[in-house]
Amino acid sequence: MTTVRRTDVLVVGAGPAGLAAAARLAAAGAGRVEVLERETQPGGVPRHCAHGGFGTWTRPLTGPGYAALLTDAAERAGATLRTGTTALDWGTGPVLTAVGPGGPETIEARAVVLATGARERPRTARLVPGTRPAGVCTTGELQQAVHLFGQHIGTRVVVAGAEDVSYAAAGTVRAAGAEVVALVTEHPRAQTGRTRAQAARLVHGIPLLTGTTVTELLGRARLSGVRVRHRDGRTAVLSCDTVVFTGDFVPDHELARRGGLTLDPGTRGPAVAGSLHTSRPGVFAAGNLLHAVEPAGTAAHEGARAARAVLDFLAGAPWPGPGVPVTVEAPLRWIAPNRVTPGARATRHVLRTGTPLTRPVLYVRQDGRLLHRERPRPATVLPNRPLPLSARWHDHVDPEGGEIRVSTT
């Protein structure tokens, strides 16, 4: 028997975005607010980020501390957290089917907030050739193995990537008592703060191999090494028993796709304007499902912003039109939000570049007409690091015009 239940707002995903949305909604009297979480514990990715860097300047926290804070806030506001329950598919309208230990259920809501987050692309999606040995993982698996389960992860570890998450992975490897053989990145330099990169190299003695890619995995039952190739053609084998593929985040968008939501080709998450309405009436989206990935605090702020839009909608505000699409030109990779609804409350955008940019200028054009020119700070923008763009130009957008293009030339 499938149980049918009704709720006012259904949030899918109890990570920072989902928990913040639920806390704000419950506190604002949105009625019954329910959060579905397929894991056994709420908190999302911060649950297994044992390092610091979460919370605020005045109240710095570790990942698990931050997860606990958000969970507590949502529960105290009166939201219902239902862990171990997986949202499976859609009914008609803002209706979801789910399953948990209590069996299948259909949950009818007045509004749904999708906050299903993002994940790292694993070795298979990156098409790294070679054998299929044990000892190949992503940061997500590594951190859970070490921090949640205390599992042995190997002794010599190569970290593929040199962005913030890669350095976090290296920290986890060291915390587990294993050796980081090297960080390997195809880019010409690390994509993290200078202090962090220098500390890893000089204090902990972790080599950084730039301009280098992992081209083959070696070994039978267990990984025995990775073959790497430098841009200049030289190759070498790094002997190791574990390789961690870090970064290269993508939205976990299965539910969004199953629901027929319009996706943005750049982010691969639902296409949204700053108000976070998706193309499916009654369904909102927030967090790293929209932009893989921004820091947890950004996701939480966005969850709170989605809550405001949900409250307006519950109070009778009409569902907005699709808005004008915003696209980027190479080397820019994506922009979020990627729709503009003229007249709506404007929120700034965030972009990513595929190659390092020095003193870039961002140009915003619609149908060949220059709407805006902006020199972002900082002066050097690296791949996998946020590149902000203000929303000052939204008033100049022609709502009947063609797509808006953002470029560096």
């Binding site: 997986t86 399953v99 994940r119 299929r132 992503t138 997500g140 859970q144 039978r220």
Partner: protein, 471 residues
């Protein structure tokens, strides 16, 4: 029920020892296990059944429409197709009768289709039909531009190769056969029957069946025969995200030409889409790695066949070695004087033909003087369902009501429940590695490859391994 993976081998003399627990060896063990009086040993070098060619193929249940008429392969595939179809329905092995389309991309290929239809007829398969472009694109709207027509073979089906091999092994072991894993046969001497020197000591058997797949020629030479040489032919395959499944409805086969066999695009019973295989003749029987060139070539071909497939993520890359020989047919032969049967040259059709091969080999063994004794029915078996066309445990309210562990999902991408993982760890032929658990349950086989669930699955596996509580 005996499955061993370490320690010394039993001292008894078995009536029959089968070397190789691939799909063929397991099928033979199951067939022999129907005779309660026989003692049967199934000897496998690896740590699980189906670890060679059987686990890395295109997972198709063939009608045999394109076999060379009159060959042993043509006959056994035709028979095996019928037998395995019925067996799958009985045991719950997922099979989907999606049908195949042999797609012609140029004039030469189009001209070859009537001949292939006629060949199918010679093989006793008469349901083929030529399709024009309109009907072809109506059936496959996402097919790349430029197809000229197709031959429809409605009987071609997709099947789960792991569940098939495991079902055979499970029934064989439950009926009394001994499965000895991690047992590599190094030498065979004749001394009052066969004396097999293995990595785990000596094993005695009155009769020997060589189902060693890629290594069948090596074992055959040990017994003094030079009938064939196995040249491993590597096939690399790409498995795409389940979100790609709506892109394709049939198995899309290439038209074989003088230039080679080309690659296919096929759905899998798990709801993925396969692209492959390459065909590379090698000498190294352990070269199961993928290569950058191979994967690039496959994607190039895939771009033409099903362009939208390239936008979906790849969730697995694997490479299998087919046991190709210099002969156009299987090499199945009895050597009565040696109390020995060779089952060699079983190519990619071996999965389909497995039950027919097993029946044939059993007759050959009887011909060598083996007294099979009376036959009994095997206990019925229901395998856990990994197929998306049939209800999975998380979709069954009855099952969850009886045991909430089936409603607790651990692997989210593949929707594998805690209950299924527990069942696999307690099964007759349990997994010995996380990969073995993946083949039995699909845990960690999805798009995240363990980002979300890897550590949790490992925890359940290791607790089950140490005999601890599997909640």
């Amino acid at each position: 029920m005996t499955v061993t993976a370490d320690g010394p081998l039993p001292e008894q003399t078995y009536d029959v020892a089968i070397v190789g627990a691939g799909v063929v060896g397991c099928a033979i063990a199951r067939e022999l296990a129907r005779h309660p009086r026989l003692s049967v040993a199934l000897v496998e070098a690896q740590d699980d059944v189906g670890q060679g060619t059987s686990k890395a193929n295109t997972a198709i249940l063939h009608t045999g429409f394109d076999a060379t008429p009159g060959t042993q392969e043509a006959r056994l595939v035709r028979e095996g197709y019928r037998l395995l179809g019925a067996y799958a329905a009985e045991t719950g092995i997922p099979v989907e009768r999606v049908g195949a389309l042999l797609v012609a991309w140029d004039e030469e290929q189009l001209a070859a289709l009537p001949g292939l239809a006629a060949k199918a007829g010679h093989n006793g398969y008469t349901e083929t039909r030529l399709l024009g472009t309109a009907e072809l694109y109506a059936r496959e709207p996402h097919l790349g531009a430029g197809a000229r027509g197709a031959l429809h073979i409605p009987g071609e089906s997709i099947i789960c190769p792991w569940t098939t091999t495991l079902a055979y092994a499970t029934q064989a072991v439950r009926a009394g056969a001994d499965l000895h894993l991690n047992t590599a046969v190094r030498h065979v001497a004749r001394a009052d029957g066969h004396r097999l020197s293995t990595s785990r000591g000596t094993l005695h058997a009155r009769r020997l069946v060589n189902a060693a797949g890629l290594h069948a020629d090596t074992l055959d030479r040990v017994l003094g025969h030079r009938d064939f040489t196995v040249t491993p032919r590597r096939g690399q395959l790409l498995v795409h995200d389940k979100l790609a499944r709506p892109l394709v409805r049939h198995i899309l086969l290439p038209v074989p030409t003088a230039l080679g066999k080309g690659v296919l695009v096929a759905p899998t019973v798990y709801g993925n889409v396969l692209l492959g295989p390459t065909a590379e003749d090698l000498h190294d029987k352990r070269a199961t790695g993928s290569t950058a060139e191979g994967l690039a070539a496959l994607r190039e071909q895939g771009r033409r066949i099903l362009p939208a497939l390239l936008d979906e993520d790849v969730t697995a890359v694997y490479a299998g070695l087919r046991a190709a020989t210099e002969h156009e047919d299987y090499r199945i032969a009895a050597h009565p004087g040696q109390a020995y049967v060779t089952v060699g040259g079983i190519r990619s059709t071996g999965l389909t033909a497995s039950l027919a091969i097993a029946a044939h080999v059993t007759r050959l063994l009887a011909g060598t003087g083996l007294d099979l004794g009376p036959a009994a029915d095997l206990d019925p078996l229901t395998m856990p369902n990994l197929g998306e066309a049939f209800p999975r445990p998380y979709q069954r309210p009855d099952l969850i009501a009886a045991d909430p562990a089936y409603g607790t999902l651990v692997c989210h991408c593949e929707r594998v429940s805690r209950g299924e993982i527990r069942d696999a760890l307690r099964s007759t032929v349990p997994p010995r590695t996380l990969d073995g658990l993946r083949r039995r349950t699909r845990a960690r086989a999805g798009r995240c490859q363990g980002f979300y669930c890897g550590a949790a699955v490992r925890e359940l596996f290791e607790r089950g391994q140490t005999g601890g509580d599997t909640p």
